[in-house]
């Protein structure tokens, strides 16, 4: 499987969840693990460009596919991805635990809708839980990301 553009062999342990494989085998700890049953959204990554829950997929299933994690959006020293920049500008994070998942979901949302309506934004981030911000700043960050992407 390709992770952030680099080829990696799939793990031999077929029980390994993709989320655990990313964190423990590939040391990509930006993907966070919250609930491990698909509810919190913290472990969201892109599979062939579309956001998915990495805790609901076995790592072996990603063989032959391209996975993008939060580390793959902007390399060290490069400018932030527009969605990351927007979260930074709008204070769309406090403790930051949920942030990688939100950013990956929003990247997926903007790939689906270049200029999402308020309802599309709400539905686009409804699958991610944030216990700090109250979501208002996250909604603003989505609008800001649309501007930054122009």
């Amino acid at each position: 499987m390709k992770v952030n553009g680099v080829d990696h062999p799939a793990p031999t342990d077929t029980r390994r969840l993709l989320s655990d494989h990313l964190r423990h085998d590939l040391d990509l700890t930006g993907t966070h693990v919250g609930c491990e049953h698909g509810v919190c959204g913290c472990c969201t990554v892109l599979l062939d460009g579309a956001p998915i829950r990495s805790c609901l997929m076995l790592a072996v299933q990603a063989e032959g596919h391209e996975v993008t994690t939060i580390e793959g959006l902007a390399r060290d020293g490069e400018p932030l991805h527009p969605v990351q920049q927007a979260f930074h500008e709008c204070h769309a994070l406090q403790c930051g635990f949920c942030t990688p998942g939100f950013v990956m979901s929003v990247v997926g949302l903007l790939a689906q809708h270049a200029k999402p309506s308020a309802q599309e934004i709400d539905e686009g981030i409804a699958g991610n839980l944030c216990r700090c911000t109250g979501y208002a700043s996250i909604r603003r960050a989505v609008d800001r990301a649309v501007e930054l992407k122009k």
Binding site: L17, H37, A50, P51, I52, L56, L58, S105, G108, G124
Partner: protein, 250 residues
């Protein structure tokens, strides 16, 4: 919160899938995994064999047949949501899929998987029931058609035999009138109660062990929904009456 041990199989043809399901004891089909993997992680399910069908080619089509739409086993819910064909011929299905969890889940989850999983509070079983659709089950013994009204047997229980793969679901064409209305705590959550109108037919979900057909004039007749922290039985009955009224008001 990690899956229990299992033997993993990744067949590449439907025949191989069927022969595995027919020969391995306690085998479970893994499609989108959006219901099965949580059950594994919670260890509520401990199948000895997992038969992953995601490597099977040509099982992801959404196409027109016999005056309706066929959705194959690997067609993702997001693909059904975006399908122009579905929007044109069966807009009820497009509307219903949008109520299933969240887009991130629908990117993996499959329509056929939702039907085989048969969660009584989920939308798609009630949709296929209200429309009078069917599913096609394949095994080494052959292929059979199961009408929606025969498919759902109990909570998470269907008429599918352990060696059968649900290869395709068929939804009859219906342009108008239709409605799907549900009440849930948050968008994308399972419904406390929901109603599906397909023409003059009504199906309910979230209020019985399976989706049920009901009389639009007296939708709550004979129902004994369960109560939990989120809704009492009385509240669920009230939701059924109010949502039915709204679905048939248009």
């Amino acid at each position: 919160m990690k899956p229990p041990p299992f033997e993993y199989h990744a067949p590449t043809t439907v025949d191989e899938v069927c022969s595995l399901l027919g020969s391995q004891e306690d085998a479970k089909v893994l499609a989108g995994g959006q219901s099965l993997v949580p059950l594994l992680n919670f260890r509520l399910a401990r199948p000895r064999h997992l038969v992953d069908i995601n490597r099977v080619a040509g099982l992801d089509r959404i196409y027109q047949r016999d005056g309706g739409i066929a959705v194959q086993a690997l067609a993702r819910q997001a693909e059904v949501e975006d399908s122009q064909l579905v929007a044109r011929l069966c807009p009820l299905l497009s509307a219903a899929v949008r109520l299933v969890a969240h887009r991130v889940i629908r990117n993996r989850g499959t329509v056929c998987g939702s039907l085989a999983h048969a969660d009584p509070a989920s939308e798609l079983p009630a949709v296929i029931l209200a429309l009078g659709g069917h599913v096609i089950a394949r095994s080494v013994r052959g292929e059979r058609l199961i009408a929606a009204e025969q498919l759902f047997k109990g909570v998470f229980e269907t008429a599918l035999a352990p060696d059968e793969l649900l290869v395709e679901a068929w939804f009859p064409e219906l342009i108008d009138p239709y409605a799907i209305l549900e009440e849930s705590r948050r968008h994308g959550d399972f419904a406390l109660a929901g109603v599906v109108r397909a023409g003059q037919h009504l199906a309910l979900f979230g209020v019985a062990p399976t989706p049920v057909i009901a009389d639009p004039k007296d939708p709550a007749a004979g129902l004994q929904p369960s109560g939990d922290l989120e809704a009492s039985p009385e509240f669920r009955l009230r939701l059924v009456r109010v949502l039915t009224q709204r679905a048939f008001a248009a």
